[in-house]
Each structure stands twice: as structure tokens, then as C-alpha cells.
């Protein structure tokens, strides 16, 4: 069999290049020992190739494979799922490379390499990664080509496979647009499928939000129709935390309904929210979303929820009414929970709250007094506050006096509750940055924020942002403006990095388009596109029909090409044939044995009135046909024109 030939060094070289290009971007995600193992296996193979050495004994390979398998099992504690899967495939590919002896082995390695190019997209689907994967696919395809056409020069091989890839491009585009998209997963995914998604969690402990403050990753984007709301109204609601155990805050009781528990009123803002996956159901809508948003549900604490945890980048068309009054009528359970405090924590704060409660008459006054007292405490807003002990609120308010937003919110809510006013912590994002390139509002993880809500009779839940007491600019201008100079900020939030920020804006705009149209091309978007193309209510039948039409179009093109191939004759012969055919219609067909000169003489005698042109044409043809070397194209065209213009009576 052909496939048992030993591959040439050049073929091996291509495969080595393909494997290196495929695995290099994986190195970040792979466990470090595995990355080193893969790199050394590739290096050993390269050395063997260089020195024309024999691959190691099969037993060695099996031992390394088993050891790597055990290592992967220890690393991930299971075998199923994308992370161990990719790790095992990577080792397998390197070992296959090492033990390859025949072209068949090389083909198997090529298939593994294609798999691993797909595997890159598990972690990252940026344009850069797409380009790397494409480069890998090009080299891998060149490996396949070199197995067939070993004689061609390397540059020619590379060119041919680039041509093949570019010829596959139209096919890819059509299928990408028309292939019926299914919202995955097809079956239960392993637990690690959604690991590595950052975002708010539904628990808040001191330090949990300041950790997010260091991340530049995008949480979501919002594109407003018209002007976006002012920064002071950009509160994007996440988990609402009511239960407090002295250290951490957790969500309290909340209903979930198809309708919101409020009447939206005031000015409306329409926007499209593109949410990065965070594996949580809440949507981070601007306070307070309208009543008729499809495929969502409304929580009793005014969050907007998706039907499923958001596990892929998703778009929502939303409308919000920031001025709505909410929660005028509130559940007794909710209010009771919003007043409960654990005993024996923060005695000093309790004392302060009691003092305020006796001073103030009624919740509104208590609220005002609390804010005033807090302002008087001269608290500092910082991203890296000192660690706190058991009585965290006491220590923050009276000892360290340094805290991030979660400290402020948590201390404020504690004081309010101790003074007898229902209050709760709300987490989410505040602010966001308008990208001047495409005008969208970009909200990053570093915009994560915690604020408070107080329930007042007759007014319902009222938002209070205690952070604004210490750092008003946090609300108006964002994190970097609010922090003292000595604080550590994410690189791009630092002042004086304008040029970098500008670059970042541009890149964000590009990747937003990429996200919307390439990565976010899902069943909904497919339906949208088809509707815009003029197919009302498209379903899988429309797609099948369109695919069929495209396939038929492709076939027609190929057929046309095949016919063109058949007609591709020598133009000189074609001209002569048309001449003979023309005269055949006048009863003077050329005999098969007749040469052009003889034929010309006979024609001149048959049609004496046209003797001159007929003889010229046949003499020209004979001269052009039987000359040494190829006929001059201009003369051929001239002859063809003479023949076309020849008119016989």
C-alpha cells in the first residue's frame, strides 16, 4: 500500500511546522508541565529529523503516553471535558509526531492538528486567535499536499494550499450564513465547560469587588439609541444582597415573575446590551427595565433575569426607565429580612446607629443623619484596603477608615438596619466608558460596584450610594478619578495613558463588530439576517432551500467551467473549423483528406466570384498552422475576423 511509505524529511518538516504553529497558542492554557513535555517532544523529533535518527522504541512512547495520561488525570481530576481533552490531544499529537514512520501516521497527525486548531477556540475566539488557527490550518494543509506532491518546491506547495484555502472560502461563507444554527449544548456539558468566566458572584465579602476592580476585561457593552443617560444614572443592577452573617452578604428572598412589580415611568432609554458570558442568569440591565422584554423574567428585587444562565455572548434589546419609583408596596418577608442583623458583631457601629435613631425622627431623617455622620468620619476610598477582622464594619468605620465600595455599602446598610430602617446591598456595575470610535458604552469588570437601597414608607426602595460620600468622582468620572494617586490601577485606567486608551478604543470597536457578526452569529441573528434578505419567518426549511439553491449554483458554475474546458480549443483551429462549416453550408464541405491549400484552390474554382478571399484565407491558415513555433495571436485574430466577415452569395 502506498500509505506505508516512509515520509521524506520535507514532509516531516511541514508537519513539524504545522504542529508547532498549532500548539504554540495552546501553551498558555495547557498545564505548564504539559506544555514543556510537548515542546520537548517536538524538539526531540526535530533533532531526530536533523540527524536522520530513528524514532524511539514503541514501548517508550507508550510509557510516556501513560505517564502523561496519569498526569492529566491528576491535574484535572477527571478525563471528560474540554480542558483534559485538549491536554490529552496535545500530548497525543506530539507522541504521534515522534513515533511517525509512515505517511499514514502523518495523515493521522494532520487530523489531530486540525482538531487542536478547533480546540484553540474553546478558550478564545478573538481575531488574533482566528489568524493563528488559520496559519496552523494552512501549514497542516500544506503537509497533506506535500504527501501527494513531494516534487514541488516548498513555496509552490505553500501557494497551492493557500489557493485551496481561498477556494474553500466562498463555501465557508455560504455555510456559515446558511447552515442551520442550533443553540448548543446538544447534551449535558462537563462541569468545566464554563470555567474561566469572570463577573459578579452572588456573594459579597470584603474584597470580592475590589478584586474585579483590577480586571480590564469587558463585562458588557451597551449601544444606546440617542444619548446615553448621565453617569449618575448608570447603575446596572446585579445581585441584590439582603442576608448578612457578619462577614458576607447573600441574596435574600425574592419572587420571580413574568411581569415587573412596578409601573415604568419617566424618561426611557433604549439600548442594546451585549453581555459577555458570566454563567449567571442576571442580565445587568440599567435600572429599571421595561415590562415587555421577551425571553426574560423579572425578579422581586428588580433584577432582569434570562431564562438560562448567560453562557455565551448574548444580545438583548432593552428599555429602561431610571426615574421609576419601585417597591412602594413591599413584602413583609423582604422587609423583615432587610432589617435582620447578626447579634454580637460590630458593637461600636450599633452604638452609633442607636445614637442616630434617637436623634432622628423617622427613617428619612435617620438616613440623612447617617450620611452626615459617615461624611464626618473622613473615610478614604481605595482599591487596596487593609484586611479586616471579625467586627469588619467597626474596624472600617473607626480604625482603618480605608475601604472600597463594598465596605462603604456594607457599613451603610449595617448602620441603617441597626437604626431600624430596612436596607440592603445592591451589586452591579456603575458607569462605563463611551468608546469614541463607535459610540458604544463599554462597561468593564473594573466598573463593578456595590451600593445600597433603603426602604422608606411612601417612597419604596431608594438608591443610596455611600461611596459617593468619600469619592463623589467615582460616580461621575469612574474609578481612576476617584482613587488616590498611590493606588494600583489597571494599566489602561491610569491617567496619562491616553494614546494607549485610544488604541484600545479602536481595538474594542473592531472586536465588537467581530463579536456581533462572527462570534455572535446565532439562531436569532441568522433569523434576523434572513428576514432582512426578504424571507419572512425563516425556519430550517428556508435554510435548507437556500443551501440547496447555493449547492445548485455551485454545480452550475462547475458545469459552466467544464463546458468552457471543452471549448478551450486552439483559436486557429477554431477559426478554420468555422470556415469549413461556413462553406459546408454552401455545399463545399472540406474532405477529410484535403489540405488547406488544395481546399482553397477547389473553393476558388467553385466560387469564382470569391476566389480571392477564399484563397487568401486558406493560404493564411496554412502559413500560420505550418510555421515553426506558435502562431502570432494577432494574425490569428485577423484571420478569424476575415472568416467571420466572409459573405458568400
Amino acid at each position: 500500500m502506498r500509505d506505508t511509505r516512509a515520509p521524506t524529511p520535507a514532509q516531516f518538516g511541514w508537519l513539524l511546522a504545522a504542529v508547532t504553529a498549532t500548539l504554540a497558542p495552546h501553551a498558555i492554557e495547557l498545564p505548564y508541565w504539559l506544555a514543556i513535555l510537548c515542546a520537548s517532544l517536538i524538539a526531540i523529533r526535530s533533532a531526530l529529523l536533523w540527524r536522520r535518527g530513528k524514532p524511539p522504541h514503541q514501548l517508550v512512547i507508550v510509557l510516556v503516553a501513560v505517564a502523561a495520561g496519569i498526569g492529566v488525570r491528576f491535574e484535572f481530576s477527571h478525563f471528560f471535558g474540554k480542558d483534559p481533552g485538549v491536554a490529552l490531544l496535545a500530548v497525543l499529537l506530539c507522541l504521534k509526531l515522534l513515533e511517525s514512520r509512515t505517511t499514514r501516521d502523518l495523515r493521522a497527525a494532520v487530523l489531530l492538528a486540525y482538531f487542536l486548531q478547533l480546540g484553540l477556540f474553546f478558550y478564545n475566539q478573538t481575531p488574533g486567535i482566528a489568524a493563528l488557527a488559520l496559519a496552523g490550518a494552512l501549514l497542516t494543509t500544506t503537509t497533506l499536499l506535500s504527501l501527494e506532491d513531494a516534487a514541488a518546491r516548498p513555496v509552490a506547495q505553500l501557494r497551492t494550499s493557500a489557493v485551496l484555502l481561498s477556494q474553500g472560502l466562498p463555501f465557508m461563507l455560504v455555510l456559515f450564513v446558511l447552515f442551520p444554527r442550533v443553540q448548543g449544548p446538544l447534551w449535558g456539558l462537563p462541569s468545566d465547560a464554563y470555567s474561566g468566566m469572570t463577573g459578579l458572584s452572588d456573594t459579597m465579602t470584603p474584597g470580592s469587588i475590589s478584586q474585579l476592580g483590577l480586571s480590564d476585561a469587558i463585562a458588557f457593552r451597551a449601544e444606546f439609541d440617542g444619548t446615553p443617560p448621565p453617569p449618575s444614572q448608570r447603575y446596572w443592577r446585579g445581585p441584590v444582597l439582603t442576608r448578612y452573617d457578619g462577614r458576607s452578604w447573600r441574596p435574600g428572598f425574592s419572587t420571580i415573575a413574568r411581569e415587573p412589580r412596578y409601573e415604568p415611568s419617566g424618561r426611557a432609554y433604549e439600548y442594546r446590551l451585549t453581555l459577555e458570558p458570566h454563567n449567571q442568569p442576571w442580565l445587568l440591565a440599567l435600572d429599571f427595565p421595561a415590562a415587555d422584554i421577551p425571553k426574560t423574567r423579572y425578579a422581586g428585587d428588580f433584577r432582569l433575569l434570562a431564562e438560562q444562565p448567560v453562557r455565551m455572548r448574548t444580545r438583548f434589546d432593552l428599555r429602561s426607565y431610571p426615574a421609576t419609583a419601585v417597591g412602594k408596596v413591599e413584602d413583609a418577608i423582604v422587609l423583615a429580612e432587610a432589617q435582620r442583623l447578626p447579634a454580637n458583631v460590630n458593637p461600636r457601629s450599633r452604638a452609633l446607629a442607636r445614637e442616630i435613631a434617637t436623634e432622628g425622627a423617622g427613617p428619612s431623617e435617620i438616613l440623612a443623619l447617617t450620611l452626615e455622620r459617615l461624611r464626618g468620619l473622613d473615610l478614604t476610598y481605595t482599591l487596596s484596603p487593609p484586611l479586616l477582622g471579625t467586627h469588619s464594619v467597626d474596624e472600617f468605620l473607626f480604625d482603618t477608615r480605608q475601604g472600597f465600595c463594598e465596605h462603604f455599602a456594607s457599613a451603610f446598610v449595617f448602620l441603617m438596619r441597626a437604626a431600624g430602617v430596612p436596607a440592603r446591598v445592591v451589586t452591579g456595575y456603575q458607569g462605563g466608558e463611551i468608546n469614541p470610535v463607535d459610540g458604544s458604552l463599554v462597561v468593564r469588570q473594573s466598573d463593578a460596584h456595590a451600593w445600597a437601597e433603603v426602604w422608606l414608607v411612601g417612597r419604596g426602595w431608594v438608591r443610596v450610594d455611600p461611596t459617593a460620600l468619600a469619592a463623589p468622582s467615582r460616580i461621575e468620572s469612574g474609578l481612576s478619578a476617584a482613587l488616590p494617586d498611590w493606588d494600583v490601577l489597571p494599566l489602561l485606567r491610569r491617567p496619562g495613558m491616553d494614546w494607549l486608551r485610544d488604541l484600545r478604543h479602536r481595538w474594542d470597536a473592531v472586536s465588537n463588530t467581530w463579536n456581533q457578526w462572527v462570534l455572535g452569529y446565532n439562531p436569532d441573528r441568522q433569523r434576523d439576517l434572513l428576514e432582512r434578505m426578504g424571507f419572512p419567518q425563516p425556519d430550517w426549511r428556508t435554510l435548507a432551500m437556500l443551501l440547496g439553491v447555493s449547492a445548485a449554483g455551485l454545480m452550475l458554475l462547475l458545469l459552466a467551467w467544464a463546458f468552457a474546458q471543452r471549448r478551450q480549443h486552439d483559436p486557429l483551429d477554431a477559426a478554420w473549423t468555422s470556415f469549413s462549416r461556413k462553406l459546408a453550408r454552401h455545399g463545399a464541405a472540406r474532405h477529410p483528406w484535403e489540405g488547406p491549400l488544395d481546399y482553397g484552390k477547389r473553393l476558388a474554382m467553385t466560387f469564382p466570384e470569391h476566389a480571392e478571399p477564399l484563397r487568401t484565407i486558406s493560404e493564411d491558415y496554412a502559413r500560420l498552422r505550418y510555421r515553426i513555433g506558435p502562431a502570432d495571436p494577432h494574425s490569428v485574430r485577423l484571420l478569424a475576423r476575415h472568416i467571420r466577415r466572409l459573405k458568400l452569395k
Binding site: 504527501l147 506532491d149 472560502l169
Partner: protein
Amino acid sequence: MPARPDASRHHIIASRRHLVTLRRHLDRWLFRVGPPEPSPIVLGQRRIFVLPTPAGLAFAAALLVMLIASINYNLSLGYALVFLLGGVSVASIVHAFRNLLHLSFSPGRAEPVFAGESACFHIVVANHRPARRPALRLTAHGAAVPFEIGAGDGADVTVPVVTATRGWMTLGRVRIETTYPLGLIRAWSVLVPDQRCLVYPAPEPTPPPLPEGASRNLGQRAGAAGDDDFAGLRTHQPADSPRHVAWKTLARGGPMLTKQFSGMDGGEIDLDWNDLPANLGTEARLSRMTAWIMAAERRGLAFSLTLPDTRIATGRGPQHSTSCLQRLALFGTDVAADA
């Protein structure tokens, strides 16, 4: 039961025969393989067939798994990669097809051989397109010959075919195929060039000595010992065998001379079918006579050949030997008369 294996073998043979008949029908109907075609045979698009190779099927299976992974993990770029590779394999169908399209085949030489040797059929393949035709393969009688043709060039492909029996051997079905560019798709065509090779009978490995001299007493050597001894040089005559030209002398710049061996001119023998032992079968007789003709030719003896149906008068030289061998090759076959 002892009968069973035998019965099953019969069954297998019978089914194999069915398969062979089916193949022939399929060839005639689907691949339009019939009698030898006039040359040159140009591959048009209607006679090129395309199917995936096993590697292509494995590739398709891999793409399917990759597609399922993309659906399951909602990898938009995964879809893109799968569709791109799918597009590449579709494009490679066209490339494979094009690699065979308009190739032109003409039969070349096929020198006579002795039965048991490999007959070398030369096929001239011309490429009129100004582009390379890489990774082609020509298969006939189970032997595959890889080759490639440059732009606007031609190739003389030699297909070795093992011979078994004497007589005319036709080249028969020839398959031209290519798995270019990626080995995923095989394009092929079947052609029957009008080409045959004459197969002489296999010479007897250890024949008895030649029936020399006037004496027709077989089995006895009439000539003196040292038949093959070098006896001197004489001027060359056009009828002399090139094997006896004194090339060394010529190479040194000397005249063209012919080497003479003792007994060379003296011998004139009769190779007569009827003088062979009566218990010898037809093929064994032909083999022995073939061996004798070769021996006589080597020694420059003049000989005549008598077969039951013909007689070739005494002669000498390669021409004479060839026509005698031809008679032997075709002895008893229908084409003997016109050969």
C-alpha cells in the same frame, strides 16, 4: 465434515466468478470500458470519475466530530474552521478532476519478451496544458507506476507486466488515477489502449545441446570441443550479428571487425519439430526450440525451423531469429497465420 470446506470453496469460486462478471458489466456500462480504443486517448470530463479515498473518509469523519464540538460548545469560529476545511475538500475534488482532464495517451513500444519475464509497455502521456500535472499514477495488471508531467510536456511511462504464457499479450484495462492535491479525493479513469506485446515461449533452462551438423542425431554433440573459442577477426559484413562486432577494437579507433569463433561458419543446423522426442508436450517442444534458437543465434549458426504447419528456410542473424521466435510464440494460435 470433510465435504464442507470443499463445498464452501466452490461457493467462493462461484461467487468470485459472479463478481468478475459483474465487474465486466459494470466496466462496460459505467466506465464505458470496451474494446481497445484508437489512439490518442484524450480524457474528457465524461470519463473521469471522482470518489473519496479512505483518508478522505477519515477526514470527513473528523470534520463531523469537529462540527458537533462546535455546535455543542457554541464555537462560531469552530463552525467557520469546519466549513473552511469542508470547502477545501470540495475544491480538492475539482483540482483532482482537473489534474486528469485532457491528458492524452498514446501507446508506445512494447519489445517482445520471453514468458516469465516482465513485458514493458511504454505509454506516452502528453500534457497540453501549460501547468504541471503532479502525482499521477498508472496502474495495469496490478502494477502501479507513479509519474508526473511538466507544463506542456510529455512522459514516457513504462508499465512492467509479468507475463506467463506465450502469444500476444494485450495491455488491457489501464487505470490512470491521482489523489492530488490532498489525498482526500481520488480521480480516475479507465482506458484500454490498443497495445500488445509479443511473448515468446520461455526458453528451456537447461536444454540439450544443439542438433549440430548434418547429423540429425539428437543428444549427440557432433562438433569439436571449444565451440565458443575465439578464433580471430575478419572484416565486418552488414549481415553480421552486432554481438560479434569487436567493439573494443572499434573503440580504440580501429576498423569495424567481426569476431570469429571456431565452428561458427561451419554449422548449419535443422531445428525440426518432428525430431524431438515423441513424449515431449507442445509447450516443452516450443521451449526447447526457443532455447536452441537463442543458442544458435549466440553462436552465429545458420539454422532452419520446421514446425508441423510451417517451415522457415535456413538463415542467420537477428532478423531470422526474431521471425522464428515469433512463429514459436504464436504457434497454434489463431493469429499465427497473419503474423
